[in-house]
Structures are given as C-alpha cells and as structure tokens.
Symmetry: C3
C-alpha cells in the first residue's frame, strides 16, 4: 500500500488523500487489535501495527526495487503508530466507542480498495505487464495482514477465511488496469477501481458471500 500518489498525478486529489489516511489507520488499528489478543507488549504492538499498515507496500517496493519506501517519506504515520502502541488500550476503547464494528469494516475496505489500485499503478509505472501489476496491487493491499498473522503465529486470515478479500482486490485491479489501457484519466481510473473494490467487499460481507474452499 501507501503510494506517493503525488508522483503519479502531480497533485494528490483530496478524496484519495482522505481515503489513504482512513486506510492506514484502519490497518494499523487491526494490527493493534491482534497484538492485544496475543497479549503482546508495547514493542510487539508497535511492530505488528506497523507491519500490518506498511508491510504490503514495503514488500511491493522491494519486489519492484523502488525507493524510498512510503513510510520513509511519511514519518508522521510512523510516529502516529508509535503513539498508538503506547496508548493501545486507550486507543481501542476510543475506537470501540467511536467506531462500530461496521465502521471498522468500511475503513478496512477503503484501505483494501485504495492500496490495491495504487499498488497496481506503481507497477505499471515500473513497466510491469498487466498481470504482474494486478499481483502487485493485491500484494500491496493484503500482504500486511499476512505478516500480521504470521507474527501472531496464526494461519493468515486471508488464506483460510472464505470471505472474498484478495478476490475483491483482484477484480478491482483488473478494472483499474483495463481503464488505464483504455487511456482513461488516471485519477478517474484509480477512483473507479478503488470504489469497485470497496463496494464488492462491503456487499460480500453484508450478504455473507463465500469462496469455494
């Protein structure tokens, strides 16, 4: 995840910027929640929250040989996650009061949507083929969660839970890549792909869609 969109489009449109903040926070909070379940200490909480929020984008950047990483250029997020880890129980109390479970699912879906399309777009910038771009989009969006679960010694959720997650990312990345191929304006393509992923994710949670196992 976590893309210097500025690079892609000159200026980051406000809507995508807001989505990014929501996504990073949602991912980090999901890391904090898991860390608390495993009764990790402050350091463990920070590591897991950080890995959940930035693991996917970092792996993508290593694979694409891109530098600097997003979090290297945006230290504010690192600091924020650091502070969150210290006040983890406070953060979780506030989150559980302010944001219902439903709100957290929406926030997570926003992260999934945005980080998928921006990941795919960075791969296209790096001259990758459409198939590879879609894979990079998926990696950007879901790999953080895989690392989180491996650190917490669980079989990664996205590999066993049959609720569509990577699948939504897959479909939306192809939508984005297809629109790019049709020379649609970047901003519109990114937004359409992201919204498609978010919608698909929310609908599939709402109606309990399941993948075949």
């Amino acid at each position: 995840m976590h893309v210097p969109l500025e690079l892609l489009m000159g200026r980051l449109p406000l809507i995508l910027h807001i989505m990014e903040v929501i996504g990073v926070l949602a991912f980090a909070v999901s890391g904090v929640v898991d860390a608390r379940k495993q009764r990790l200490d402050v350091v463990g909480t920070f590591v897991v929250a950080f890995a959940t929020a930035f693991g996917g984008g970092t792996v993508r950047d290593v694979l694409l040989d891109r530098r600097p990483f997003y979090w290297v250029d945006h230290e504010g997020y690192v600091l924020l996650i650091f502070v969150m880890s210290f006040g983890a129980s406070f953060v979780l109390r506030v989150v559980s009061r302010v944001a219902s479970d439903r709100a957290m699912i929406v926030a997570d879906a926003i992260g999934l949507g945005l980080f998928s399309v921006t990941g795919a777009s960075l791969a296209l910038v790096a001259q990758m083929t459409p198939t590879v771009a879609v894979m990079m989009g998926i990696i950007s969006a879901v790999f953080g969660g895989v690392v989180r679960d491996v650190l917490c010694n669980e079989v990664p959720m996205i590999l066993r839970d049959r609720s569509p997650y990577a699948t939504c990312s897959f479909v939306g990345c192809w939508i984005y890549v297809g629109m790019t191929w049709l020379a649609v304006q970047q901003e519109a393509a990114l937004l359409t792909g992201a919204v498609a992923i978010i919608a698909m994710r929310l609908v599939s949670v709402r109606y309990g869609w399941k993948l075949p196992s």
Copy 2:
C-alpha cells in the same frame, strides 16, 4: 529456482527445459496439497502454491538484486497456478490417479536438482564467491518450501525432517561449482550437478537415510 537459463547459455537445451516444467509443476502441486490440508480457500491455495513454486527464486533474486523475477517474465506459469487453484480438488484427483506418490517424489527431486544448480549459476554470474553461490543455490531450491510451511503455520519440513533434502542440494551445488571452476562446459556442469542431486535425493528416500538431529 526459476532461472532464465537462456541468459546463461544462449539457448536453453531441451532436457533442462523439460526438467524446469516438471520442477515448477511438482513444487506448485506440493503447495496445493498443503493448502488443502489446511482447508484454505481458493485465494489461499493460489498464494501457497505460488509461494512454493517461486518463493525460493524470488528471495534469491532479491538477495542478488536481480530483476525481472522469473515469474514476471513467464506469466504462463502464474496463469497455470491460478487455474490449478480454482480446480484444486480436481487437480489433486487427477494427480493422485496419474502420478503415484513415487512419481511425485521424483518430480520434486527434479525441481530440487535443477533449481539448485541454476540458482548457484546465477550467483556465479553475479560474481559471488563459491560459498555464497552454493548458499544461493540451496535458497533457490528450498526456500519456497519454507515459506509454504510458515504460511501453513508449521515448523518448516526441511528444518525438522531428518531426510536429506537441503543436504543433497548442498552437495550437488558444490559439484556444479567445482566443475565450473574446472572450466567444464556450462551445460554439462549444470546437468551433472542436477543429476547428482536427483540421484542422491532418490537414493536417500529409497533407503531411508537420516541426518543426525
């Protein structure tokens, strides 16, 4: 594993090409088998099969700072694994009918042999010393299996099973590196090293050789 042998020798000899296809398929199928055991969904099956088949070569390329990755240049394999994941239960039924357990062990040994020597050869191309080249050969051949087991939340098989596996790779890589040092023709050196690994692996399985623990 997974080496643009064309780069090494101008033209890929047919025998090595056939070994490569067999090896990739054997590794991918072993990923599918493990994913089914853990009752992963379609996405999980794809991720584990893909990581088993290409994880080792990708880590080697990251360590050697080589691009593009093998699977970036050979999307056919990605598509094949994708299709296999959808028809996983069908694939496993066919595999279990067509290929006995013994055939799977042979196919896996072929992958082990080929990916070891080609991994070592890429490290030599990148000016690594013989010791590092041997380590890269081993990483190429066995790391995919380590990732597969970590994702499935198991202590990696190759670390605890005392049946020689990485050990065969180790011996064969030294044979290959030694022949290269003796200026033997590349193709012959690769084939000798690979065949030595395959033979050693099969003999050790056949007679139940065990490493000390």
Copy 3:
C-alpha cells in the same frame, strides 16, 4: 547487524571488532539453542542459527538496497556457523560449561548494542532521516530473533516478553544519532550508544523491569 565498519571509519577499532565477534557468536548460539529445543536436524540448526545471526542485518541491507551483505564479505562466519551446527550438542555442552546463563545474557546484550548502533549508522550513511535510522538500527539488532522464532513456529519473543529489548535498542540508537548530530567523533558515538544499550539491557534484566503490555 554486521556492518562493514571499515567502510564507516577507515579502520575498525579493536574494541568494536571484539564486540562484533562476541555478538555474532551469541546470536548464533541462541539460534542453535532454539533449534535443539525444536529437535531440528543439522540443516535446520544451521538455517536457524544463520538466520538469527545475520537475518536482521540482511533485512536492513535489503531495505536500504545495500550490497554486498555482511556475510557475503565475511565467509568465515558462515563456515563457523556451519561447523557449529554439525557439532551442535557438543557446542552446547561446551557453552553451558564455559559460559553461565549470565555470560550468555551479557554476550547477547553486546550483540544487541553493537548491531543497533552500526545499523543506525549505515542508515545515516544512506542519507536516511534520524527516525528511519533508529528503526533500521532496531531492525538490524532484533529482526534475526524474530525470524528465528517464526521459523520455530513461536510468537516472536521480543513481541511478547515484556522485558525491554527492542526498547534498549531504541534508546541507544537515539543516543548515537543525537551524538552524530552534535558532530561527535563517529567512533565515540558508536561506542557510547552501544554501551548505553548494553548497560540498560543488563540493568533491566537484573532488576526485572517490565514494559506495560
């Protein structure tokens, strides 16, 4: 960990060189101990010991895009760990006779201290900001242990044990970075940071300090 300090300062001062040897050995031995607990075979023991000793530094170098890795340039360590893995039970007997548990804690603290500050210093050389340099220092020092625990299928010790470990690295890296910012001589800054970490670690073990969970 594991830094070509020669690059940083022309000539490696003897005291830092001795600390490095102690640190690498302490980390490798901790890998061997864990591998024995899991009853891994010789290959598994080597992999876990190697990953514990060099995993942190290798990940840091991948993140900073530095080559060659420390162990590529210092094959002696690779060989030493290789030999240690073969004689693992012998090594552990000797270690348990020569070195008390207390000595092992001191040796491990020395590794923690040295690899933290040298990791941070390499990040500064690569033009990273202070915050990123501190993170790279921590990664260099503790990531090997995380990989060790993931391979042995445990929730990483440093994430759940509430005894300060990464925290000591964090504080000492800031001391080092601060002294660098104040233009203190490199060698003195490295030594001060490392000693601060070692002292903090030993005091916190001695008095049973705990982080909040």
